[in-house]
């Protein structure tokens, strides 16, 4: 065997060894995940039924359900999305396209990077003092949604900036060379071309927010809610003054969310409540995976539509 053949052979072994290592570690990771999901399914799948989804929590495990938690999660996500998307996209757009690089923007950028790493419970503490007490929002859907919005704001900002950065310079130059103002370039080119990337980032961020527990417990979200927030423009009970609920009255309502409901059940004694928690966990996982799948679909559609 010539020296060249020997080194080629050695390098091929090297390559094969790394491939085996990588594949086996991937399998280990997937197996652990699979085992977790399987265990959850084994414990919880039996409890999953239509009545579980549509019942309120109860002291009797077999009558309890997650109706208020599902609706609460939904409303909180609406507040979070409507706050975090405009703020985050505008901030990302400003930092990427408008701001000059100086010490001020440098501080902002360092802060955003750091905010992404702050433990979520710290957000909860800050929200408790700011939203709940200082602004007097109470333990409401509005306060909860705003808290989670703050939590995912850095993710949305970073996603927006990444999406903008992926737009090639020559596209911007083409637009500017036509005599477009900066706003026209943003409005007619940058925003439409980055929508896919921004949407992907936003959805991933929301799927993180939907599973957050600690900050909402910190601001005092209740663990036992046996009512739904007032649906806008539906009749208000006579004893409560009658008429219709206002379009934004739900913002002020107390609430619980899926992970809090789970946490509450897990901390109770008894197999039956544990099964409830597992069933709620399945619903939560399905919601998260569903959002992630949506993000992938959005990204692929945008990739097909926009090329440079």
């Amino acid at each position: 065997m010539t020296p060249i053949e020997r080194t080629i052979r050695f390098r091929r072994y090297q390559d094969a060894a790394f491939q085996v290592l990588g594949a086996s570690l991937t399998v280990v990771a997937l197996l652990v995940l699979g085992a977790l999901v399987l265990d959850l399914a084994k414990t919880g799948l039996g409890r999953l039924s239509w009545s579980f989804l549509t019942s309120f929590p109860s002291r009797k495990a077999e009558q309890a359900g997650i109706a208020s938690a599902i609706v609460g999660s939904f409303y909180v996500m609406i507040v979070t999305a409507f706050t975090a998307i405009p703020l985050g996209v505008a901030a990302g757009m400003y930092l990427e396209e408008y701001s000059r690089r100086n010490w001020f923007t440098a501080i902002i950028e360092i802060n955003i990077a750091n905010l992404a790493g702050v433990p979520s419970i710290v957000y909860g503490l800050m929200a408790l003092s700011l939203f709940v007490y200082t602004f007097g929002l109470g333990e409401s859907i509005l306060a909860g949604g705003l808290t989670l919005a703050l939590l995912i704001l850095p993710i949305v900002i970073v996603a927006t900036r990444e999406a903008l950065r992926s737009i090639p310079l020559h596209i911007r130059e083409a637009a500017y060379a036509m005599g477009a103002t900066r706003w026209q370039v943003v409005r007619h080119h940058l925003l439409p071309y980055s929508t896919g990337g921004i949407a992907t980032g936003v959805i991933i961020a929301l799927s993180r927010a939907i599973g957050e527990t600690a900050p909402l417990i910190t601001i005092g979200a209740l663990t036992f809610i046996a009512f739904l927030p007032p649906t806008p423009l539906t009749p208000r009970p006579e004893e409560d003054g009658g008429g219709l609920y206002g379009p934004f009255e739900w913002l002020d309502s107390g609430f619980t969310v899926l992970p809090i409901q789970m946490f509450n059940w897990v901390s109770r004694p008894g197999e039956a409540f544990l099964a409830n928690a597992a069933a709620a966990g399945i619903v939560l996982i399905v919601a998260t995976l569903g959002l992630n799948a949506l993000a992938i679909v959005v990204r692929n559609r945008m990739r097909r539509r926009i090329r440079w």
Binding site: Y176, A177, M178, Q184, R307
Partner: protein
């Protein structure tokens, strides 16, 4: 005789006799048609006067003066890094998009007498009056129609039929109509590279600019597509003034009426293209033309 823009200088103290007019006349003097008085030399469209440009501390254009003849093709040639593209991008103030750029001197656009690089002149106005075609075809990821309509919409043209008419006229002027008339709503990226570049030319023409800048427009194209673009550039001079940067000397010889040879940021020689290529006045030009460096 040559009068365009004379007396419309916007700065006090500027001599009323345009020195660069004489440069253009000199370039023409050897042309028999002009010498015999049968042909009137073209007026000046843009007059580059002692232009210098800096990227931060690096001076990329050094005291360059060139007359750009009205509705003719002027080529900027020279080796890579000689400042020809930098000079071209001064005409539509593209450098303003980036920090640390600094101009000195003047580019007077006739007949309005606007000094393009004057700080008080809005770069957006200049970009609407002077179109640009880039090195790599860079259509927007929109439909063929929307690419050409963009400039019109930005200018505030509203009428649907007016936009449609002007889009059609621009695409025809860019010799692309026969190939795309049945698929105007299709994405521009479905076109071939040469078609995309002609689309970019149509996009630049749609707003009826006074001048169009070409920055090595064929360097990313195959020979057939290149030939079509060259043909197109020559036909354009009936309607607009063309300034083209090219590193392909044969191309400069084929498409341009005047040629400026630049080296290390300085303008070495400016003359009629025939003269530059057949009988260059400077040794450096001769060496570059004959391929001994660059």
């Amino acid at each position: 005789m040559v009068t365009a823009g004379l007396g419309t200088m916007d700065r006090p103290g500027t001599p009323q006799i345009d020195v660069r007019e004489s440069a253009l006349r000199e370039a023409w003097a050897a042309w028999p048609e002009v010498a015999s008085g049968r042909h009137v030399p073209p007026p000046i469209k843009a007059d580059v006067r002692s232009l210098s440009f800096w990227y931060g501390k690096v001076q990329a254009v050094k005291n360059v003066s060139i007359p750009i003849a009205d509705r003719r093709v002027t080529a900027l040639i020279g080796p890579s890094g000689c400042g020809k593209t930098t000079l071209l991008r001064c005409f539509n103030r593209m450098h303003d998009l980036y920090r640390n750029s600094r101009y000195e001197g003047q580019i007077v656009l006739h007949p309005s007498g606007t000094d393009i690089i004057d700080r008080r002149v809005n770069p957006i106005e200049m970009r609407m009056r002077i179109g640009m075609v880039f090195q790599k075809p860079n259509p927007f990821p929109k439909s063929i129609f929307e690419n050409v309509a963009f400039g019109l919409r930005m200018k505030g043209v509203r009428g649907r039929s007016e936009i449609a008419d002007r889009v059609e006229a621009a695409i025809k002027a860019a010799a692309l109509w026969d190939e795309v008339s049945d698929r105007l709503r299709k994405p521009a990226y479905d076109l071939s590279g040469g078609q995309q570049q002609r689309l970019c030319i149509a996009r630049a023409l749609a707003t009826e600019p006074e001048m169009v800048l070409f920055d090595e427009p064929t360097s990313a194209l195959d020979p057939v597509a290149t030939a079509r673009i060259e043909e197109l550039v020559q036909s354009l001079k009936e309607r607009v003034t063309v300034l083209i940067v090219t590193h392909n000397m044969q191309q400069a010889g084929r498409v341009s009426d005047f040629t400026a040879f630049m080296y290390l940021g300085e303008m070495v020689e400016f003359d009629r293209t025939e003269k530059v290529f057949q009988n260059p006045g400077k040794q450096l030009t001769e060496q570059y033309i004959s391929g001994r460096f660059g």
